[in-house]
Every structure is written in structure tokens, then in C-alpha cells.
Amino acid sequence: MFNQIKRPLFIMLFFSLWANNSHSAINVFACEPEWASLVQILGGKRVSVFSATTALQDPHHIQARPSLIAKARRADLLVCTGAELEAGWLPLLLRKSGNGKILTGQPGHFMSADHVTLLEKPKLLDRSFGDVHADGNPHIHLDPHRIMLIAEALTKTLSLIDPDNQNDYQNNWSSFKNTWSRAITNWEQQSQSLRGKKIVVNHNSWVYLEDWLKLERVATLEPKPGIAPSSAHLTQVLAELKQNQADMLLYATYQNDKAVRWLAEKTHIPVVALPFSVSSDESLFQWYEKILSQLLDIKQ
């Protein structure tokens, strides 16, 4: 019997000896590009950041691909949104990667939503209301004030994981805090004219932006969260919009634009296709600037 099991064990041993790594920088696995950008700003040269999704992917629905398991295996820190946004793939990565550092409860398991309040917490959990998140709406990265709170918490986490470089993290945080505060003031001044504007959205992914810029959502194209717009529902929305004209149609570039285009054609309401997250060649700052300028462009 022992001979039978010796061979597989030997093969395993061989593989475990052959693969050995040593890294100086903290390996960060970010679930979404906005957190990748934030960690990069706060961690500077002390971190090596990987983003599991791009701005063109729906973070609810990517697959637990082998490449992601490989990345999670080597991560020292996991930075995600939480609030069930990644429930369709992250738990599997955590179970499959065999990496203790990034498990729930460990310092390396950072969920942004744990550090801020969430809007739209459902009173009743029933799937006939669509794909609802029990904790509330998870798309918190569209509120710069919440980003600030998350950045502060993330700095503490970085210092905890890598105490040798905590001075660097503190310095990065201080300078981020200053620049970001100033940026917020600027953005809020620039966007005065957007207050009270009526918007129609594809998916209710913009709650925090609405809350921040005081936009008024008058209609949602998805009849229920995560359920694609039906023609019956669209007709209803169209009728409502004829009564109560909106200022713009908002959708994220990763989403299907068919319903939005159809409605735009019928109503002549301008369409704004906003990137839902930071793209690979820009920073969190640039992304916010881009979103605001796109919204302001429509206004004029």
C-alpha cells in the first residue's frame, strides 16, 4: 500500500521544492482597478499591484479563471469592494489558492465596503427583486469622500502588513489626503451646475455619484437590478420620460448599450457612456476628472 501512495507524494514534493520565490515588494491583489490605483498611490514603490478586472468588465460576473488563482496564491494583500460584489468568484479564489494571508479575518483581507456606510440596504431579501446585495449598494468608489475613508483604513492595513515601511505609507497617505481634499473641493465647485440634474441610468450603479453630485435619478432601464431591460419596461420608461424629461442617460461602458441607444433615439436625451473604473493608463484622479468633464460636457 505504501508503495502506491509514495509516488504521488513524491511528485508533489518535487513540485513544491522546485517552485520557490522571494519578493521584496508587497504583492497586492486588487479586485477592481479603482482599488489597484488607490493601493498604488498609497503604497508607491513598496507595492506590486495586480488588478483582477478591467474597467470594461462587470465586476459582478467575471470567472474564477486559473490565472486569477495563480495571482491570489502569491498575494500578500487582497483589496476588494466587498458587500457581495465579488461573491460570484472571490470565495472560490480564496478557497483554491491555499493562501492563508488573504483569508477573511486576516489583515491581508481588505474589503473597502467594511469601512464606509452603504446606501440602498434592502429591507427585504427576495430574488424576485433582482440581484440585490444584502449589505447595500456596493459601487462605493464613485464617492470621493468614501474613497478618503477607505484610503485611511488602507494605510493602516499597509502599515500592519509591512511595518518596516510604515513611514512611507504614512507619508503617502498625508500627501494623498491633501491632494485629494483639494481635488474634492475643486470637483464640487466645478460641478455646481450639475446639481439637481435629472438622469436615467441603465443599472443602479451610480447611487454614490448621484448622492455626491446631487443628481436626481428619474428612471432605471433595468426593471430589477441585474435583469436586462425588457421591451415592456422600456416602453413604460419612455412614457414616463415624455411626461418628465430627463437631462441625460447614463451607462457604464462595460454594459450593453442597446436599450440606452434605443431610448436616446426616441427621446433625444444625450447619452453619457462613463468608464466604470480606472483604465490601465490612468490614475484615480484622472478617472474622476474624466467622469466629471464628460458630465459637464453634456451640460453645455
Binding site: S67, A70, T104
Partner: protein, 461 residues
Amino acid sequence: MRKKFLAAATIAAISNINPVWAISDIEALRKQVEALKKDYEQRINALENRLKQSEEKSQLAQQKVEQVAEKVEKTKTTSRTGQRNFNPEISLILDGRYADFNNDPDAYKLPGFTLGNEAGLGEAGFSIGHTELAISANADDKFYGKATLAIHDHEGETETDLEEAYIQTLGLGHGLTLKAGRFYSAIGYLNEQHEHLWDFADAPLIYRGLFGDQLRDDGLQVTYVAPTDTFMQVGTELFRGDRFPGGGNHDGVGAWTVFANIGGDIGIEHSWQLGLNHWRENDVDDRTSDGHSHGGAATETASFSGDSKISSLDLVYKWAPNGNPTSRNFKLQFEYFDRREDGSITMLNSGPPEEVSTYDGQQDGWYAQAIYQFKPHWRTGIRYDRLSSNNNGSDEDVLAEAGLDDEGHTPERYSAMLEWLPSEYSRIRLQYNRDDSYEDADNQIFLQYTLSLGSHGAHQF
């Protein structure tokens, strides 16, 4: 010191040489310096003002942030995690179908293969499939546990089957994970997936022929993920080996497997995984397959004893535009299995004397399938199955009796399906098979629903 002295000496020397020039020059220089000083003072003042302003601004912003922070602090709820809130996660799968066959489903056979376990076509007409109740949770920070109960009808009786019941380590570190209990073996791509996750209503023919649809057993699994950019995983399983396609009563390790998977992405849109697997049981004792009776006599059942080994290769490729599978995606899947067996076949309840033959079996088969989600909520797919066998023994008649003679036929099957998925949690499927498993070709149609209630776990790649 020396430098200062040198500089002073030089200045003295220069002024000594041109005293008149020096005086007017100094006057001009002084004026220039005065002007510069004034200019800079103005600039510095301006800068100071601006700095002050921006400091005030940032203070303002800071105040706002603090206000938000205060607000947040006041309304802060209890801490959340990234996982589902339900603890434990409970899910119930409802599955039912309407099936139509040209041939009698009870006459189904796969020449060259003995059918065991749950292999077969199921019933014609309305029937419910596996109703699965799964409960899982992280027990603590060290272990995850899962149990799946399957409730299904078998020959007119409702049976409850403990499909899976296992524990798994969490974050053991170094890429190691241990699993113990009853679970689906990691060999093969489809084997680990529950039936309701399959893209067709029935198992590939090779899974039906070798495993009686799926291989699961009681035992221990160890996997190791290498710390490399390309996904590399190796693993081994030690099994009791009593279950089909093993057999007997083992008090140690009856069967074992080794497997290796590599995988990765090509750009942002393509991903792939390749697997190599091996299963072995050296002491299969009395593995019985489905019996068939001869006009009311006791059922004659083929029983195999000997050693058995299965090797397999699987390849999966997936595509999604921009790596975003929500509206459109494509999947290509291929698996090949080869089984070699050496031992004897006994026909139970035959004779006396019992019919016995030596057995040298060689069976292989593959399937390939392509699934395309062409728009949100709609998927379509095709599949092709093909098997072959070359089984020999001392008594060809006994092998033929056992169903191990290929009857000069190559089993194959063509399938096509169309699915409508109103949401992530429900699916209606229409499937057509042209089934050439045995010499009488069969046309099969399935209309199937699958619903998932409660917690909806993450899907494997």
C-alpha cells in the same frame, strides 16, 4: 578658510586694478539688487497669499471630509465581509424534465462498456432529476465544510443519497489545500462539477461508460498550487476504492489519483486550462454492473476483479469580448479518457458452474463540445461523443454476455442544445441527441428546467 581668503584677495586685486569702474558698477549693481529684491518680495507675498488660500481651501475640504467621517461614524453598521451573508450558505436545486426517446430507454446499452452506478438514459416522459440540497460554510478560520444531499427517484422509489460531505482546509499556506470526506474526484474537467452545472442534460458517453456518470469516493485530497504567474496545480487523492468503478472492501487506500492542471490567459479575452489525470485501483474486487435477466431467471450480472487504470487529458478554452462574459461568451471543451484493465470477468447467477473468463480490457473515448452565449440570457451548444474498445479474454462468449464485446459498433452521439436563462438562478433547456450508442440509432429530446434557490455559490472555471 583658504577659499574665503582667496576670494577676498581676488576682489581686492580686481578693485585695485580698476578703481573708477568699480564705483559706478557697484552703484548699478546695488540698484539692480534693490529692484530684484522688491520684485521677489512681491512674488513671495503673492505666493504666500496663494498658499494661505489653498491651505484654507484644503482645510475646508478637510472639514467636509471630517463631517462625512462623523456622519459615517454615526451610521456605521457592524462589520461586513466579502462573502455571502447567509451562514451557512444553503442552496436547493430543483430539476425536472420531459424526455422523449424513439427507442425503449431500458434497452439502452454501450457495447464494449459495462454500465454501472447511475448510468442510463433515465425515464421517458415527465420526471424529476436530482433535487440537490447543499449546505456549506466556513466552520472557522481553518476549515470549510460542505454537504450535498441528492434526492431522486430510482425504480419507483425516492432515494436520498449523500452526494458529497467533505471538509477542506482554509489558508494552510504555501498553496496547499487538504480535503477529506466524500467528494467528486478532481480527475477530468467535468467530473468535479455538479450535474446541474453541466451544459447538457446528460453526461458525456465516456463518463457514462467509465464512471456511471461521475467518479466520487471517500478519501483524502491534497492539492498544491505553485507560486508562478501561470497557474500550475498538482494534486493527489487517496480513496477507499469501494465505489464504482472500483469495487470490493478496502481497509486502506484502495484507489489513488494524481492530477496536474496548468492554465492561464492569452491577452484579456482568452483563457485556457489543460489537465492530465490518472486514476488507479490495483485490487478491484467484484465490481458489478447493471444486470440483465433472461426470461424470469435470476439476474445475471457481470462482475469484474483485477486491476484498473484510467488516464485522461482535458482541455478547456474560453473567450469573452473584453474578458466580460456577461452578454457574450464562448467555451470549447475537450476530454479524452483511456482505461486499461486486467483481471477476470465472472457472470454472477450463471451456471452452475459460473461462467468465468480472463479479461484484458482496453476502452477509450472522447467528447468535444462548444457552447456559445450569443446574447444575454441565451446560450446554444453542440457536442460530439465517440467511444471505442478492444476487450479480450479467454472466453469471448462470457465477455459478450457481460456487454464487453463492441459488437463491431463504434458508439457515437451528436447533441445540440438551446438554453434560455431568465436570470442567473433559472434555466430552461431544450436538447436533441442523435444517439448511436448501440446499433439502433435513437432520437432523443429533452426539455429541462433547473432552478437554484437560496445562496448561489461561485462557479468554477
